[in-house]
């Protein structure tokens, strides 16, 4: 790999780390709003380290949900990372202890950067550099957000209450844009999920309505045969 390509990869990794850091600050604030202390927020970012799951965890607790519902929501969103891992195996060829370490950084951004790289060496560099950059910024900014939010009072609290759903919407938004694969279906599932959650809110224990909203995935319908060819189709 040439040195300009390496620099470009590292520059992208740092830029992405800074951008994701803003979400980290929003997460820290959301964790505080949900009643978690600074240590709990910091532990989630250091140990769970997967944004959507962390937001779901504090979102469910913030809505008054049980610990079990919070864990369930986080794990449902974490299934994405299993699929990412499978796609990264040919690139990373993880073995032994390296696999134990690399697994922690398997998230949306590192996968996207690694798979977009033009060759394997750059792909591995992109994975490691993006992982390091985001891990650093995500954890640092979680602390900033949690400590900042803990210092707020009165009107600033009301502002924070309005910021939390907006942060969730910003997390969801890219999936609903026209450029996203099957955006129309994503929108249908999203509307379905919101309707199910609101309809169940008066009748189920808090937090359960969020987990129950996964039934809206049924609105996506059957897998499209053309979209992901099976091994047999590929050989034919």
């Amino acid at each position: 790999m040439s040195s300009p390509e390496r620099s470009a990869t590292l520059r992208d990794a740092i830029g992405l780390g800074v951008a994701v850091g803003l979400y980290g600050a929003a997460f820290g604030a959301a964790a505080d709003a949900a009643g978690l202390n600074v240590w709990q927020a910091a532990s989630l970012s250091a140990l769970m380290f997967t944004g959507a799951s962390q937001f779901a965890f504090v979102g469910v607790l913030g809505a008054g949900g049980s610990a079990l519902a919070a864990v369930g929501g986080a794990l449902l969103l974490g299934t994405r990372n299993t699929v990412y891992g499978v796609r990264l195996v040919p690139l990373l060829q993880p073995r032994g202890l390296r696999r134990v370490g690399l697994a922690h950084w398997v998230i949306d951004e590192t996968t996207a950067m690694a798979l977009a790289a033009p060759d394997r060496a750059l792909g591995r560099l992109a994975f490691l550099a993006t992982g390091a950059s985001i891990y650093l910024m995500w954890n640092a900014m979680t602390l900033v957000g949690a400590l900042g939010a803990a210092a707020l009072g009165g009107t600033a609290r009301a502002a924070l209450d309005a910021v939390v759903p907006a942060a969730f919407l910003a997390l969801l938004w890219p999936r609903l844009r026209r450029a996203f694969p099957e955006a129309a279906t994503q929108r249908r599932v999203a509307v379905g999920g919101a309707v199910v959650a609101l309809a169940l809110t008066p009748i189920v224990p808090a937090g359960v309505q969020v987990i129950a909203a996964v039934v809206a995935v049924a609105l996506a319908g059957r897998p499209r045969a053309t979209e992901r060819p099976t091994a047999a189709e590929e050989m034919a």
Binding site: L75, G85, V86, V100, L172, A216
Partner: protein
């Protein structure tokens, strides 16, 4: 909810999330790359994140409520539609929520 329960949940969710990541690097690809599995995994985030948006913005306990949060959400949606940066979206939503708090 006691602090201990929250801590247990934090650690359980962290360990579970890690194992989901580790599984991807460890299990045969054929187990995960089933069309139905891929289909569900592709759409779980949309359903769950939308449910969280709705619950965070429009409920309080078991009640549906309309307050500054919903106004903030509407402002955020407009900002996102105009491709505003994340930080701008949050600032506008927060300002809207604070304004409603002051006025109502």
């Amino acid at each position: 909810m006691s602090g201990t329960v929250v801590w247990v949940a934090v650690l359980a969710a962290a360990v579970g999330s890690y194992l989901l990541k580790f599984a991807g690097l460890s299990v045969p690809a054929a187990w995960v790359e089933q069309p139905w599995v891929a289909r569900v995994v592709d759409f779980v985030p949309a359903a769950l994140l939308a449910a969280l948006v709705a619950v965070q913005a429009a409920t309080s306990g078991r009640h549906l409520v309309v307050d500054g949060r919903l106004v903030g959400l509407a402002v955020a949606a407009v900002a996102l539609a105009f491709r505003a940066p994340f930080i701008v979206v949050l600032l506008l939503a927060g300002a809207a929520g604070a304004l409603v708090h002051v006025l109502v």
